[in-house]
């Protein structure tokens, strides 16, 4: 019973407290305020609470109210059932994937010791690891995340088909072609990382990134697999259908692609799930390549740099401080990657459909296979 309750709390905090908050704030700060800054504009400031524009937050609330109150239009000849469930099919996978994302290492009921002689591995002495900081402790977490991300293609394709509009159909086709193509290079670019870490468990991966190379360089994914990082980042951008890969909703060619015929909250769900997918990809990149919750040189039992060891504020207090530091680091990394994606969105023009396919199949895929071979070769020699 207590475990179920704990899971519910974790789901509530992570999904609603973090993912939905970040995703919806992104619509405000990312798409409106940040773009305004880039483009020499002021951005929304006319919706006010008692005369204060509060950095545009009331605008975002007004937007939400507008979405809820708008008429929900379903095109006359559309397949009503599929048209209605499609937003759900896009929305749910964008959230389910978060089940395996670790925001912090497991909690140790005893004391944590870091063993520099064992390459800075943390062990829990006199207690056991308790999973408090990710929803689910799953040994093949990465596979799960990929499977879930792949499912969301159905939503877009079904939405495109069910709308009974040629623009939507083109958008749905584009999105399925694009997502399936990029999943291949995404998976293959990660194969090298998997060979190095030898685990699919995301939390284990993050732990191994705490290892040090020559006592000073953290072995983050981006350090051991720099090429894979770029490949995965690019493929991830394409996977989330955000600019410059936003062909499925290329607004100047196919109006709004597969969301052309959506209105009201169905449209809002489509939009929100796109943002949530952006955050999810950012989280995956952070976990796999940027050390997840790891803060360099900060360990649960103090700060270690080269041969020095400090424990500020005493051991017990420091454990809690390190927990917060690490959660903060994870959140910061996610937000940074999201910010990076937004900067790209507001700087670059959009690809053409055939160019996206060329990039996926003829450039990213060979590169990721080459990366895999080189990694395998190096591992075999070592």
């Amino acid at each position: 019973m207590a475990e179920i309750l704990l899971s519910v709390v974790k789901i509530a905090v992570i999904v609603f407290g973090f993912v939905m908050l970040v995703a919806s704030l992104m619509t405000l700060l990312g798409d409106r305020k940040q773009s305004a800054k880039i483009q020499n504009r002021i951005g929304p400031n006319q919706a006010r609470f008692f005369g204060f524009s509060l950095a545009g937050i009331p605008h975002f609330l007004a937007d939400g109210i507008k979405m809820i109150l708008k008429e929900n239009v379903t095109p006359a000849q559309s397949n009503k059932f599929l048209h209605t469930i499609a937003p759900g099919l896009v929305f749910v996978p964008a959230l389910v994937g978060w089940a395996v994302v670790p925001f912090m290492d497991h909690y140790c009921t005893g004391t944590v010791q870091t063993l520099p002689q064992m390459n800075y591995t943390e062990v829990c002495v006199g207690g056991e690891w308790k999973n408090y900081f990710s929803i689910m402790h799953f040994n093949s977490g990465l596979l799960f995340a990929f499977a879930i991300a792949a499912v969301s293609v159905y939503g877009a394709a079904i939405a495109g088909w069910a709308s009974n509009s040629k623009f939507s159909l083109l958008g749905g086709l584009r999105s399925s072609a694009q997502m399936i193509s990029y999943e291949v290079s995404m998976g293959l670019s990660l194969a090298g990382v998997l060979m190095i870490y030898g685990t699919l468990n995301l939390n284990e991966m993050v732990r191994m990134q705490g290892n040090m190379f020559g006592d000073w360089l953290p072995m983050w994914g981006v350090v051991v697999q720099p090429l894979a990082f770029f490949l995965f980042f690019l493929a991830g951008l394409a996977e989330t259908k955000r600019a410059p890969f936003d062909l499925p909703e290329d607004e100047s060619v196919i109006v709004a692609g597969y969301i052309t015929e959506y209105s009201s909250m169905k449209f809002a769900m489509m939009q929100l799930s796109e943002y949530a997918a952006t955050v999810f990809i950012a989280a995956l990149i952070a976990v796999i390549f940027l050390g997840g919750w790891q803060v360099p040189y900060v360990y649960a039992d103090g700060i270690r740099f080269l041969d020095n060891h400090w424990v500020p504020f005493g051991e017990d207090a420091w454990y809690w401080i390190s927990i917060f530091l690490r959660i903060g680091a994870m959140v910061f990394k996610i937000l940074f990657l999201v910010w990076l994606q937004f900067m790209m969105r507001w700087t670059l023009p959009r690809f053409r459909y055939d160019q996206v396919m060329t990039l996926g199949w003829k450039i990213l895929l060979p590169l990721s296979i080459a990366n895999l071979f080189v990694t395998a070769l190096v591992l075999a020699i070592l």
Binding site: F167, L170, L247, E251, S252, W346, P349, R350, R352
Partner: protein
């Protein structure tokens, strides 16, 4: 039509072409035009262009207005650079009247015309970025256009529907601080121009989208009657300003940029370079122009001064006759052409000796370019329509008249 379109393609899997109605109400078909596309996947097999959704009967309207009352209608032709239309029409009527305008008026017309051209090219380049997804480039370019429109507003009193041209002159002289304000605008424009170059010109995605798409050959351009930046991008250096100088274009020094492949990227580069050249022309004009009258002193066409109108019967009658009966243009016909933002803007005017035009025909560059547009689109991808249609820069008001 249906038979040849529904021919199944020669493939193992049975497929049929899809007919897609793009426009008239579609984000890409600004200025309301309709493409009926036949698509094989994303490839455009056939394109039917249909214009006329913005038809207002400009040519017929003019027949019921006096020669002066036509000016507001010309504002609505190419509404991004209305001053060029104003001056083009004024020049045509002046040729029919065989009158000369004072030198300062010609300088002013050259300056204000080039300022309008800046507005036209900035809009076109920026909108091109927007439609390819680079919204930031669009907003930078629009800032430049706003600055240009501020200048226009200061001189003419309006931003869009300026009606600044007059037969035999212009409405008013430039304002006193015009040169200072131009100095500021010029600096900002050059920054924006440099920023746009940085954002787009060497951007790999932009190059991929623009190079080799919508290719126009010089032969085709000439045979279809293309003019302006679109024709120049193919390597034909035909510019009315250079080849048949009018106003003060013969006096100032400027280059006519030409491209060599005639694709979208060349059209973009030609427009970008013309922005620089326009700035050059305006600088020279401001340097060389001298104070003087801005209106012709021919009492047949120019309204008398208010002092005469209120204090003498002759002045009063002169004013009354010009306003009510219109300027009396001698019978005859003229074809007069100038270089507008999109190409050669021609006015063919027939007068029967009264105060109203008997016939006005506009040779609008956009309409003529729409005639051959399907050749640029067919064979390309659906997404290529966007940059092609943008660099053609069809303006609805001018095209549909």
């Amino acid at each position: 039509m249906a038979e040849d379109i529904y021919q199944p393609l020669d493939q193992d899997i049975h497929t049929e072409p899809m007919i897609l109605q793009m426009g008239p109400s579609h984000p890409a078909t600004h200025g309301t035009v309709r493409f009926t596309l036949t698509l094989d996947g994303e490839k455009v097999i056939k394109c039917d262009t249909e214009v006329g959704y913005l038809h207002r009967g400009f040519e017929k309207e003019c027949e019921n207005s006096t020669w002066t009352q036509v000016f507001p209608y010309t504002d609505r032709l190419n509404y991004v650079s209305p001053l060029l239309n104003n001056f083009g029409y004024a020049l045509a009527v002046e040729r029919l009247l065989e009158i000369e305008v004072p030198e300062r008026c010609n300088w002013i017309r050259t300056i204000m015309g080039e300022i309008s051209r800046l507005s036209d090219h900035l809009t076109c380049v920026g909108a091109g970025g927007l439609e390819l997804g680079a919204m930031t480039a669009f907003l930078y370019a629009l800032e430049g256009r706003e600055l240009v429109w501020d200048l226009i507003e200061e001189v003419t009193g309006a931003r869009l529907t300026v009606s600044y041209g007059r037969i035999g002159g212009v409405k008013d002289d430039l304002t006193e601080d015009f040169a200072d304000r131009w100095a500021y605008t010029r600096g900002r424009l050059q920054e924006i121009h440099a920023n746009t170059h940085k954002l787009l010109t060497r951007n790999r995605i932009f190059l991929d989208r623009m190079q080799g798409t919508g290719v126009l050959t010089p032969e085709m351009g000439i045979s279809y009657g293309y003019t302006g930046p679109v024709l120049r991008s193919t390597g034909v250096d035909y510019d009315v300003r250079k080849d048949h100088p009018y106003f003060m274009y013969g006096e100032v020094d400027f280059d006519v940029p030409v491209g060599d492949t005639g694709d979208n990227y060349d059209r973009y580069l030609v427009r970008m370079e013309e922005i620089t050249q326009s700035i050059r022309i305006i600088d020279q004009c401001l340097e060389r122009m001298e104070p003087g009258p801005v209106n012709s002193d021919d009492p047949r066409v120019v309204l008398p001064e208010k002092e005469k109108v209120y204090n003498s019967i002759e002045g009063m009658i002169n004013h009354f006759k010009i306003i009510f009966e219109g300027i009396q243009v001698p019978p005859g016909e003229v074809y007069s052409y100038t270089e507008a933002g999109n190409g050669e803007l021609g006015f063919y005017i027939v007068s029967n000796g009264t105060g109203k035009p008997w016939k006005i025909h506009v040779r609008s560059p956009s309409l003529i370019m729409m005639g051959g547009l399907h050749h640029l689109i067919e064979g390309g991808l659906l997404a290529d329509i966007i940059p092609t249609f943008d660099t053609i820069n069809m303006i609805g008001g001018e095209c549909d008249k």
